[in-house]
């Protein structure tokens, strides 16, 4: 794998990129024990496919083998993450999520879940949100509605929410205006993992969240002054991919190639645009760190409104197919479902390049893996943790440079690892 130099010129619409580093990494990383902080273990959550259990693993410092901490959920619809608050919320089951299992990154061994009941034959979640309710802490909120009954459609009129940090949480009905407290941490990578990833579209100033219908719900986030809404009847042009304590991020509508992101520093309250070294999808944030995955269309021509999967299989394949077809996720009767099937039905091509930048300092690094199934799963002020197929690597930041990759762990447990965090060391160490 190779960490490529970012040779971009400074964009006039951005704050300066403080530094862009070029670090060459060996194609094959040395299999060395992880050198994480001695007080911490690396935890990762494996989840992403509807009918595959979400499992939390730990890699103890100095160890190579992942150790199962616990099964978090039998299947998964999505995972709502908040790295600033050190919370992961696993929503299950797929399609009709009603149970929300909480992984507290500071106490990952403990189990906690809350649930929101509803009649799935009557309503389904149109949207799912993580909110930071004043005095309540983090809450999960469902915008329930029925959009499939053409004769009697019932768009969401309220949020059905429950706190995940309260000792005795109760389901409450909140007005949609409560979306002013929205928390978003971005997309995860890995083909088309997860049935849904909650990244709302926004417009207006301050930014307003679109749910369904004519009404929009204001956030506390001002709009970038250099990026007004589009004129005309369809003014929405951005997605709100990150709302965290340190920064907020919006990206252009994904129908267009994303070659820049807009970052709001919540300390200075200044927006700036960061030009990216390549078009990306799947922007996400870990505190001030923003990551993205290089992506482009698999087909040179538009695929249209109806895509035949059999035709997709004939399109160009993201590199690493031979490896991905060996990574079984599930099987049903004679059908074996592999990681490559996620990529097979995707309309995007992933060449195997990752970008990591600091939303405050502008420090930007790229990592070339050459494998389509690559993503950053955690970035801290000292290290970047990223997954390539079934292996987790760590590259340390040192003197403004990103060091060479160190293999942390590898195995079938890793193929659906999209979230990682540093947690308390295991007691046996």
């Amino acid at each position: 794998m190779m960490l490529e130099k970012n040779g971009r010129k400074r964009n006039s619409m951005t704050r300066s990129t403080a530094f862009a580093l070029a670090i060459l990494l060996p194609v094959t990383a040395a299999l060395l024990p992880a050198q994480t902080d001695s007080a911490t273990d690396l935890y990762f959550l494996s989840a992403g496919v509807a009918n595959v259990p979400a499992r939390l693993y730990r890699v103890a410092a100095g160890a190579m083998a992942p150790e199962l901490v616990r099964q978090v959920a039998p299947g998964v619809e999505t995972v709502l993450a908040d790295f600033d608050r050190r919370m992961l919320v696993v929503a299950s089951p797929a399609i009709t999520p009603h149970t929300f299992s909480v992984v507290d990154m500071s106490a990952p061994g403990s189990e906690r879940s809350v649930s929101i009941g509803y009649n799935a034959a009557q309503t389904l979640p149109v949207e799912m949100y993580l909110l930071d309710m004043p005095g309540q802490g983090l809450s999960v909120a469902l915008a329930l509605g029925n959009l499939w009954d053409e004769k009697n459609p019932r768009p969401p009129r309220a949020l059905t929410a429950i706190g995940i940090e309260l000792p005795r949480a109760e389901v409450v009905i909140l007005p949609l205006a409560a979306l002013t407290n929205i928390r978003v941490s971005g997309y995860v990578g890995g083909g088309e993992a997860l049935s849904s990833q909650q990244v709302p579209v926004v417009q207006g100033d301050p930014l307003h969240v679109y749910v369904f219908g004519p009404n929009l719900y204001a956030t506390r986030i001002p709009r970038p002054p250099y990026s007004p809404d589009k004129a005309g009847p369809n003014p929405i042009s951005h997605r709100l991919v990150v709302v965290q304590d340190t920064i907020d991020v919006i990206v252009a509508d994904e129908r267009q190639p994303i070659n820049a992101i807009d970052v709001l520093d919540n300390t200075s309250h200044v927006w700036h645009r960061v030009a990216l070294p390549f078009t990306v999808s799947r922007a996400r944030a870990f505190g001030p760190w923003i990551t993205g995955i290089s992506a482009g269309p698999r087909s040179a021509k538009p695929l249209g409104h109806s895509v035949n999967v059999e035709e997709l299989r004939a399109l160009r394949q993201s590199p690493g197919k031979a490896k991905r077809v060996t990574e079984e996720l599930s099987h049903y009767r004679a059908t074996v479902f592999t990681v490559d099937d996620l990529f097979d039905v995707s309309q995007e091509y992933y060449p195997g390049d990752l970008v990591v930048l600091n939303g405050r300092t502008g420090a930007l690094f790229t990592i070339h893996t050459g494998e389509g199934d690559s993503e950053v799963v955690l970035a801290t002020d000292t290290s970047v943790y990223y997954r390539v197929n079934d292996a987790l690597y760590r590259a340390d930041l040192f003197s403004g440079k990103l060091g060479g990759p160190v293999t942390i762990t590898q195995g079938p447990e890793v193929v659906q690892a999209h979230w990682a965090f540093l947690g308390p060391a295991s007691q046996t160490r």
Partner: protein, 510 residues
Amino acid sequence: MRLAIAGALVRKARPTINTDPSGVVNLFNNSNNFAVDSANNMTIYGESFLCQNTCNQAEIQVYENDDPNVTIHAITYAADGQINVGYSIGSGATAGQHCVYVETPYCVSNCGSYMVGDFSPTISSISQTSFVAGTSTPNVQISGTNFGTNCPKFAITPTAAGSTFVPASCADTQITGTMNIDPNAAAGQDTVTLTAEGFNSQGFLPAQSSETQSATTTISVTPPPPPTVSVSLNGATVSANSTIYINSTPALPLVASLVPGQPGVPLSGNATWEMDIDYAGPGAYQYSCTLTATTAANGSWSIGGTFGGQFCGGSAVVKGTYQGHTATLAFTILGQNAPAATVKSTLGASPWFIQQLANSESPGYLQFQSNGQPVYGAPNGFGIMQLDYHNNVYELWTWTTNVGDGLSLNTSNGTAAATFWASQLTAWQKYNATPGNEQVPMQANVSDGPCVFSYTPSGGQHPFSDGIWIKMYNSGSSYPFIQWAGSSWSVSLTNNYGFDYIGRVCSTTP
């Protein structure tokens, strides 16, 4: 009886028999005791038996005149202080003190006292010494002495109370009777104790205090051979290593019972049963089921009843355990197909594709191959509905279970498909309602084989959700027939190895 002795009467001294036990001595045992029903010689000791030598032997007589059952025979020797005579004591003699007298032509002696009674019985032999528990053996002869003519009593220890010896004929030296050994008698040596009852209504009266009433002998008891297992199907015996069939109903009215190892020796208590059925399925799979029951040992086990309407097949072993012994019978269970019309009737006609789906999974609605084993489709599908094995072996061997579980799975899929389609419509509506997004029309009709799926089906067309539903049976939720792909519809007729399941179902005639 008095013996007359001719001779001149001469007044002489009175004959005197010693009054202590030494006066009358039984030469049989050199004592003063005489057994009832015995004959031997007695010696009488005293003085003046020969009239102080003035009268001879022919002139004296010895007799007892109290008990007609006692006979004193002729004097065989006489001297002045000793007389020897024979005697016979009949079986009717009265036990107790008797007197014998010596009479001369001049005088009669005093009472020469002797005791008549029973002697200790002894057993010298028994005609059969080994017996099987639970058996009854007639004409067993016990030989010995002093049994008396009253039939003795018998006890057999330490065996269970049910063991007896029942005399049929009794004599003083031999008893013939029937030896009954309790079915639960433990193996080992048992003691047969004979308790004499004497010769007459007096019962046993010992001739002297040292005489005991009982005698013993030993016999050995062996348990009966363990029972064997017998299994029948519709009343016909199932032979070892034979093959039987779950019929098309399906039913398998097997009955198992234990056959006593010793004919005529009934079984008692309970028997425990186990039936293990193993099926070495295709590939590396090994399926098994186990039935258990407890019944009266002399009863029978309705295996068919324990199955409860759901059966399994393969290599079967019925194990019956009785008193620690386990007997087995091995045979093979295979299956017979139900008529297609019966299966179709069970499948019903809703949803519209269910019969086509079943007939495509197992053409001809067959649960079993021609060799009687379940229809198998790789990697793990069995029976009419080609259900994956998930710890329910009955689905392999009971077509009604297979169809029932397949219908349940399909019903569950129907709910999941409807919910999934609702979620896709939700996402589509949401996308189209989002300002700025290009409007994406509903997916056009999709043909797959003879089927046409539509958002607004008409004239024999089917809703898209039915396509999702059908495909779920083969692929689960991994490859939906149609789904919203974020900004377009995505249609997938095949799974990842190019198999068009919906097309196969649609092309199959019900």
